[in-house]
């Protein structure tokens, strides 16, 4: 590393923040693009499992709430792709790389949503896991990303509320409804435990070294367990991991998450990866004429 790069690294590691027009090392810019683009992709792909349930949601209120959540998540992807564009990679390129399978998106969005219970578990626990990562991004060394994360976290907290409401309604319902929630939780527990990634020490994580992230993966997972396992248990739900328990020193113990599954899924081999990317490909093709005809006309 050059002296200038060393100085930059020291600056971000001591809490300094960087603006779009500031000088930055190429490696820092590349890491930012990779990280933020994956986040944008995940927001965009994350609406598909929920979109499948808009027409099947049990009441009009739930259909409207789910539609609004989908709109929020697409809005997040727009904000995030703007940040990526300012770093040098236009949104169109991000979308090209997403649908060709070149870039990645979060593991949880590669799975099917089998029942309405899954929709509740996603809005409650997947969004809860996500907000833990996102809150840690409020301190990101890249200031434009940190700033939009404030708005995103605010809306995500709202989604958790919606998810809890869906779950509580079902838990107060019939045995069949409670069973639906328990089955959904069992299906999602594995992917949820994989969500925050391999427990590599923060000091070895390039995203932490550059202070793009402000906490390590293992730390985020502990925070998730600490915040949500008690909430799961108090509803009379069980977690399908016999090793799950909180130690006397406050640390959660659990079975090793399936890292092979995580790797397999995020590299494009999840049960719903192909179908969902296919849908993106189709809609992008179908709306191509709009971009071709309307946008130059308007410019």
């Amino acid at each position: 590393m050059s002296a200038r790069e060393d100085e930059f690294l020291e600056y971000v590691q001591s809490g300094g923040q960087v603006e779009t027009t500031d000088w930055m090392p190429d490696d820092y810019r590349a890491k930012l693009i990779k990280f933020i683009e994956m986040h944008g992709n995940s927001e965009l792909m994350g609406v598909l499992p929920e979109r499948e349930w808009i027409l099947r949601a049990p009441t009009l209120q739930r259909k409207l709430a789910l539609t609004a959540k989908v709109q929020d998540e697409v809005g997040h992807s727009q904000l995030i792709y703007r940040v990526v564009s300012d770093l040098g990679k236009p949104r169109e390129h991000c979308l090209d790389d997403l649908i060709s399978g070149k870039s990645k998106f979060h593991n949880v969005f590669h799975y099917p949503t089998k029942t309405w219970g899954d929709v509740g578990v996603i809005a409650w626990l997947v969004d809860a896991a996500a907000i833990i990562s996102q809150k840690a991004l409020l301190k990101c060394s890249y200031a434009p990303y940190a700033r939009i994360m404030k708005k995103i976290c605010w809306e995500e907290s709202f989604h958790i509320l919606h998810g809890r409401d869906v779950i509580l309604t079902m838990m107060n319902g019939t045995d069949a409804q409670r069973e639906l929630v328990q089955e959904a939780l069992d299906r999602w527990w594995g992917p949820l435990m994989q969500f925050h990634g391999n427990p590599i020490p923060a000091e070895d994580d390039p995203m932490y070294i550059w202070r793009i992230k402000s906490q390590g993966n293992g730390e985020a997972r502990q925070q998730f367990l600490d915040g949500y396992v008690p909430q799961i248990w108090e509803l009379g739900l069980t977690v399908s991991d016999p090793k799950l328990r909180k130690n006397d020193d406050g640390v959660w113990e659990f079975s090793e998450p399936d890292w092979d599954e995580l790797k397999h899924v995020v590299t494009g081999h999840g049960p719903k990866t192909e179908e969902r990317l296919g849908l993106r490909r189709t809609t992008r093709g179908e709306t191509e004429w709009v971009r071709r005809v309307v946008l130059p006309e308007a410019a």
């Binding site: 904000l79 300012d86 700033r147 708005k151 308007a298 410019a299």
Partner: protein, 95 residues
């Protein structure tokens, strides 16, 4: 075209930068801004400004050392200590 969006959260508050939108013209920019920054009642007003229209100034040179403009131009602590000692009131204050 990139448009910078500023939003006002409550009447009477300062507008603060909210983010940006990419749009082919002002009309699209306005609608994108409404969707992204005003959908949930989080804003009472928005300013939508073409990025080129924003002129940033980030260097503030002070060759003349005009510290009488600033708080650091008035180091009262030492002077106050001296004045109290002169008046013989510093011990009283401590007790």
């Amino acid at each position: 075209m990139i448009y910078e969006v500023f939003r006002q959260e409550r009447k009477g508050q300062a507008f603060a930068h909210a983010g940006s939108v990419e749009a082919p013209n002002e009309e699209f920019a306005e609608w994108y801004a409404r969707e992204e920054f005003g959908r949930r009642g989080e804003s009472v007003a928005l300013w939508v400004v073409p990025r080129e229209a924003v002129h940033e100034i980030d260097e503030f040179v002070d060759e003349l050392g005009r510290n009488y403009h600033r708080v650091d131009g008035y180091p009262l602590k030492e002077k106050l200590k001296q004045a109290r000692e002169r008046a013989g009131t510093s011990a009283d204050r401590r007790s």
